[in-house]
C-alpha cells in the first residue's frame, strides 16, 4: 500500500505532454544547432476559417463572417488575432505612407524608364490617362495619387511590383477576403498558443465548434469550417483519447471478463491488475524523476507494453492454479520470468539510442513498467495468493494443449510454408519505410472538407511552399532576403520556380532605402523639373486638367527630408497579414517569408522540382525551407537505418542472454532464439506482401512483438528442457491466455479511428499470431525431432 501511494503520488505529478511535435526527430546543423524547429514557427499556427455559401451571396457571407468574428471578440485568452477584414482606414493610411516614402519604393533601375517618359508625346497621352484616372473610383477616393504623378511613374512601379501584387490567391470584396469565384469568405485565426500544444488548443476548438453549431441554425445556407495545424493537433489528440477510452478500454473489459470466467475466482482480476497498475505507476514515477514530463501519445501506444507486463502476471497466476506451494511456484517461474523480463527490457532499451524524443520516452517508460510489473509479480504477488488451487478451471485449455499440434504434418508444412513465404517476401522486398509523417496523423472530416474546399477554390495545379530568410533582427532577415530572391530568380530561369512573392519589394533594407532616396534626389534636377513643368503646361489643358493640380509632384520631387523607415514597424500593415510575410519565431529568430509556386510532385522524390528548390535554398544557413518534413525525411531514413542495426543488436543481446541462461548449450539457445527471429521475419514479409510500410509507430510495435516473441519462446523452452510435461503444460496455458488477451486487445486497435493506432493493429496481430504458432507448433516439433 505504501509503495502504491508513494509511486502513485509521483506518477500523478507527471505532466502529460500533448505535443505531437515530439514525434519529429530533431534535425541539426553541422555545428549542432537546430536547423529547423517546427515548433518554433508561429506561421504554422494559422487556422483558416471558411464561410462557404450554399445559396448565400457575398453580402450574406461577409455579414456571417463579421457576426462570427464579433462572437469571438470576447475570447482574447484563446485568440491572439482574427484577421477577417481590411480596416477602412488602411487604404488612406497606405496612400499617406506612400506619399511620405515614395522614393524608397522606387528601384534605381526604374529611372532609366522615367527618362523615356519625359517626352511631349508621352505626356499628351498620359494627361488623358490622368484625366480618366481622376474620374475613376480610385481617383475619386485618392486624387492625390494622380496629382503626385503627372508623368505616369505608377505604370513603371506597377510593373516592378507585379510579382508582389499578383502573388495572392484571394480577392477582397467589401474589405473581406474571398476565393476567386467569391463563393467562400475567409478569416485567418492566430491562436494564443503553439499548434503543437494540443492541450490548450482544446478550449479554442471546442468554442469554435459550439459557435459553428449555433451559426448553422441561424444561417443554414452557410457552412462554416476550419483547418490548419492547430486544428489537426486538437483532433489528433482528442481522437487518441477517445480511442483509448472506448475501443481499447472496451476490449480490455472483454478480456478481463474472459479471464474471470477462465480462472473462476473473484480475486483474479484484482490480482491480475495490481502488478500491471504497480508497473505503470512505477514507470510513470521514473519518467517524472528522470524527465518531468511524458508524451500522451507515447503513453497511449505504451498501452501495448501492458500486454507484455500482463503476460508475466498471467504466468504466475496460471501456475498458481496448478501449484499451491508458493516456493515451488517461485522456483518454476523465477528463471523464465526474469529471463523474459531482461530480454524484453533489452529490446525496449534499444529505443533509447534512436534520435526521437517520443521513442526515447516510450523506451524508458516500457523498460521501467516491465521491471516494476515483474518485480511486483515475483515479490508481492505470491504472498497475496490463497493456498487453494483450481486446476479444473483450465480444463478446456488443457485439452487444446494436449492436442499434439507439433505432430500434425500438414500443420507443420503450412507453418514452414508461411515461414518460407514470409522470409522470401522480406528478402525480395526488404523493409520499406514511410518517411512521410503526414500519413501518421488523423484528419477530421470537417478539417479535411475545409482544406479540400480551399485547395479546390484556389487550385492552380502547382505546389505552394513557404521559404524564409533568417536573422537575429528583422533588419538582418530583410537584408538576407535578396540572397533568397537571387536563388529563386536563378531557379525561375531554369523553369523550376513558377513564381514567388517578392516580399523584399515591400520590406526594403534601410541602406537600400537610403540609396533609393539619394537616387531620387539626384534624378530630379532643376532641368528635369523645368522640363516636366513645361510638358504639363503644354498637355494638361488639352486633357481638361489644371496644371496647378500637379504642384504636389514638385513638392515631392524637391523635398529633402525623406528618411528610410521600417514599414513592418509602422503599424500600417494588419497584424494578420504581416504575420504571413514575417515573424519573430518562438526561439527569438526573425524570419522573412516568401511563398514559392512550383510543379506539384505527387510522388516525393529527390529529383522533383520541389526537392531541387529545397536543396538549393537549404544549402545557405541564412535561408530556411519551412517544411519540417524536408529536413526530417533524411533524419527519419537515417533513423530507420539506425533502428535496423539496433534491432539486430537487440537480437544479439537476446541471443547472448539465452546462451548464458542455457549454460552455453548452443542447440537450446538456437531453438529458443528461432521463434524470435522467425516471427520478426514473418512480420516483415507480411508487410511487404500487404504493402504496409514501416513508420515511426511500427518501430515501437516491433519492439513489442520482439518482446512477446522472446517471452513465449523462453517459457516453452523452459518447459521443454525441464522434461516435466506438466510444467510445459502450465506455461502453454499461460501463453494461450496471454495470446488470447493480447490478440483481442490488438484486434480492437483495428477498429480505432486514429490511423497511427489502427496501423499498429495489423503488424502486431501478424507478429503475435506468428509468435504463438511458432512457440506452440514448431519449437516443440524441432525439439522432439532433434531430441536435444
Amino acid at each position: 500500500m505504501t509503495l502504491f501511494a508513494f509511486f502513485g503520488f509521483f506518477a500523478a505529478q507527471l505532466h502529460l505532454e500533448e505535443d505531437i511535435n515530439k514525434l519529429m526527430p530533431s534535425s541539426k546543423n553541422e555545428d549542432g544547432t537546430t536547423k529547423l524547429a517546427f515548433a518554433d514557427l508561429k506561421i504554422k499556427d494559422k487556422t483558416f476559417l471558411l464561410f462557404e455559401g450554399q445559396g448565400a451571396d457575398v453580402e450574406e457571407l461577409s455579414q456571417a463572417c463579421d457576426a462570427f468574428a464579433d462572437s469571438l471578440s470576447g475570447d482574447s485568452a484563446l485568440i491572439e488575432d482574427l484577421f477577417y477584414r481590411l480596416d477602412e482606414d488602411l487604404l488612406p493610411a497606405g496612400v499617406e505612407y506612400l506619399a511620405e516614402h515614395l522614393p524608397t519604393f522606387i528601384d534605381t533601375v526604374a529611372y532609366a524608364r522615367f527618362d523615356s517618359l519625359l517626352t511631349r508625346e508621352h505626356f499628351a497621352q498620359q494627361m488623358q490617362q490622368n484625366h480618366d484616372d481622376l474620374l475613376s473610383e480610385i481617383g475619386e477616393m485618392f486624387p492625390e495619387l494622380i496629382e503626385m504623378d503627372p508623368l505616369g511613374m505608377r505604370n513603371v512601379l506597377a510593373e516592378q511590383m507585379a510579382p508582389l501584387l499578383n502573388a495572392g490567391s484571394y480577392q477582397t470584396i467589401d474589405n473581406h477576403f474571398f476565393v476567386p469565384d467569391s463563393t467562400v469568405c475567409l478569416a485567418f485565426l492566430t491562436p494564443r498558443f503553439s499548434s503543437t500544444n494540443t492541450g490548450q488548443g482544446s478550449a479554442l476548438f471546442e468554442r469554435l465548434n459550439t459557435l459553428i453549431e449555433q451559426f448553422a441554425k441561424i444561417h443554414p445556407d452557410i457552412r462554416i469550417s476550419y483547418h490548419g495545424a492547430p486544428a489537426n493537433g486538437y483532433y489528433n489528440s482528442s481522437t487518441i483519447k477517445r480511442d483509448l477510452t472506448t475501443t481499447i478500454a472496451g476490449a480490455l473489459v472483454l478480456v478481463l471478463v474472459f479471464l474471470f470466467f477462465c480462472f473462476r475466482r473473484w480475486d483474479t482480476i484484482p490480482l491480475l491488475l495490481l502488478p500491471v497498475l504497480f508497473g505503470t505507476l512505477f514507470g510513470m514515477s521514473m519518467m517524472y524523476w528522470l524527465k518531468g514530463e511524458f508524451s500522451l501519445l507515447a503513453l497511449g501506444i505504451g498501452g501495448v507494453v501492458l500486454g507484455v507486463a500482463l503476460s508475466y502476471v498471467l504466468h504466475v497466476l496460471t501456475h498458481h492454479q496448478y501449484v499451491d506451494d508458493g516456493e515451488q511456484l517461485l522456483r518454476d517461474q523465477m528463471k523464465p520470468v526474469l529471463l523474459g523480463c531482461i530480454t524484453t527490457i533489452g529490446s525496449f532499451a534499444g529505443l533509447l539510442f534512436i534520435n526521437t524524443a517520443l521513442l526515447q520516452d516510450f523506451g524508458l517508460f516500457a523498460a521501467f513498467a516491465i521491471l516494476g510489473t515483474t518485480l511486483f509479480s515475483l515479490v508481492y504477488l505470491p504472498q497475496m495468493l490463497s493456498s487453494k488451487t483450481n486446476p479444473c478451471s483450465f480444463k478446456w485449455i488443457d485439452n487444446i494443449n494436449r492436442y499434439p499440434l507439433d505432430q500434425k504434418k500438414p500443420l507443420l508444412a503450412a507453418v514452414c510454408l508461411i515461414i518460407i513465404v514470409g522470409v522470401g517476401a522480406y528478402l525480395a522486398g526488404g523493409i520499406r519505410f514511410d518517411a512521410d509523417m503526414n500519413n501518421l496523423g488523423y484528419l477530421d472530416e470537417m478539417t479535411q472538407h475545409s482544406e479540400a474546399l480551399l485547395r479546390s477554390k484556389t487550385y492552380t495545379g502547382e505546389k505552394t511552399q513557404y521559404y524564409a530568410s533568417k536573422g537575429k533582427t528583422m533588419e538582418e532577415a530583410i537584408k538576407n532576403f535578396p540572397i533568397l530572391a537571387n536563388k529563386l530568380d536563378s531557379l525561375q530561369q531554369l523553369g523550376l520556380v513558377k513564381n514567388y512573392t517578392h516580399t523584399n519589394q515591400l520590406f526594403v533594407p534601410l541602406p537600400v532605402q537610403q540609396e533609393r532616396i539619394d537616387a531620387w534626389k539626384d534624378y530630379w534636377t532643376r532641368d528635369k523639373l523645368d522640363k516636366v513643368r513645361m510638358l504639363i503646361a503644354q498637355t494638361a489643358p488639352q486633357a481638361d486638367l489644371t496644371p496647378e493640380a500637379f504642384d504636389t509632384f514638385f513638392e515631392m520631387a524637391t523635398r529633402d527630408n525623406y528618411q528610410p523607415d521600417s514599414l513592418y514597424a509602422a503599424g500600417l500593415i494588419p497584424e494578420g497579414f504581416q504575420s504571413t510575410l514575417m515573424e519573430q519565431s518562438y526561439d527569438g529568430n526573425y524570419l522573412c517569408f516568401t511563398t514559392v509556386r512550383c510543379q506539384n510532385d505527387s510522388v516525393r522524390s529527390s529529383e522533383s522540382d520541389y526537392t531541387r528548390i529545397c536543396d538549393a535554398i537549404a544549402s545557405d544557413p541564412r535561408l530556411l525551407v519551412l517544411d519540417t518534413y524536408y529536413y526530417t525525411t533524411d533524419t527519419l531514413l537515417q533513423m530507420n537505418d539506425d533502428f535496423n542495426v539496433l534491432q539486430w543488436i537487440s537480437m544479439l543481446f537476446v541471443f547472448v542472454v539465452l546462451l548464458l541462461s542455457f549454460h552455453f548449450n548452443i542447440k537450446h539457445t538456437l531453438l529458443g532464439f528461432m521463434p524470435i527471429l522467425l516471427s520478426w521475419l514473418i512480420v516483415l514479409g507480411a508487410m511487404v506482401l500487404f504493402d504496409v510500410r514501416f513508420n515511426l509507430i511500427s518501430i515501437i510495435i516491433s519492439t513489442f512483438i520482439f518482446g512477446i516473441g522472446v517471452d513465449y519462446s523462453i517459457f516453452v523452452m523452459n518447459g521443454l528442457i525441464s522434461g516435466n510435461s506438466h510444467q510445459l503444460q502450465y506455461h502453454k496455458t499461460a501463453i494461450l491466455l496471454s495470446a488470447i488477451t493480447l490478440i483481442t486487445t490488438v484486434s480492437s486497435m483495428l477498429l480505432a479511428t486514429h490511423p497511427a493506432i489502427r496501423g499498429v493493429g495489423f503488424s502486431t496481430l501478424v507478429g503475435l499470431l506468428s509468435a504463438v504458432v511458432l512457440a506452440y507448433v514448431l519449437q516443440p516439433a524441432v525439439f522432439k525431432k532433434l531430441k536435444i
Binding site: E59, M141, E144, E147, D174, N175, T546
Partner: protein
C-alpha cells in the same frame, strides 16, 4: 416614402470641368435613403446602419460599427428622416441661418480617412434635405442638391 430629384456634382481640383449627373432620391422611415444618379451607376444608400456607395458601378460597403464618421452621419440622417432633433456630438457642428440648418460632421479621429467632412443642409421647418456635400481628399468633393 418620399421621392425627390437630385443633382450630383463630382469635383476634383485637377479636373477643370465638374462631372454633373442627375437622378432621384428615395427616403423611407426610419432609416433608409437611396440617392441614385447616372442611371444607377452612382449610388449612395443608407440601409439601417449599413452604407453602400457605388461609384462607376463598383460597390463599397461601410458598416457604421467600424466607422465613426458614418456612425454620426447615420444618426444625423435618422434624425432628419424622422423629423427629430439632431443629436449633439463632438464631431458635429450645427449652424442655423435663415430657414435652414447646416450640419457639419468632421471626424475626430486624427487618422486620414477617405472623407474629410460631411456637410448637410436641411430645411429647419420641414426637415427636408436641401444639399449634401461629402468632402474628400485633396479638396475634391461630391455634392448632392435635392429638389
Amino acid at each position: 416614402m418620399q421621392a425627390q430629384t437630385v443633382t450630383r456634382v463630382s469635383h476634383s481640383k485637377a479636373v477643370k470641368t465638374d462631372v454633373v449627373t442627375t437622378g432621384d432620391v428615395t427616403i423611407r422611415k426610419p432609416d433608409y435613403i437611396c440617392i441614385s444618379t447616372d442611371g444607377g451607376k452612382d449610388q449612395l444608400i443608407m440601409d439601417g446602419t449599413k452604407f453602400t456607395m457605388t461609384a462607376k458601378g463598383k460597390k463599397h460597403i461601410t458598416d457604421t460599427k467600424k466607422n465613426a464618421l458614418f456612425a454620426t452621419f447615420h444618426k444625423v440622417l435618422h434624425a432628419v428622416i424622422n423629423g427629430q432633433p439632431i443629436p449633439a456630438g463632438d464631431d458635429l457642428v450645427i449652424q442655423k441661418q435663415g430657414g435652414t440648418q447646416t450640419i457639419t460632421i468632421t471626424p475626430t479621429d486624427k487618422k486620414r480617412q477617405m472623407f474629410t467632412s460631411f456637410v448637410l443642409v436641411v430645411d429647419s421647418k420641414t426637415s427636408a434635405m436641401k444639399r449634401l456635400r461629402m468632402n474628400g481628399r485633396s479638396d475634391s468633393y461630391t455634392e448632392y442638391t435635392f429638389k
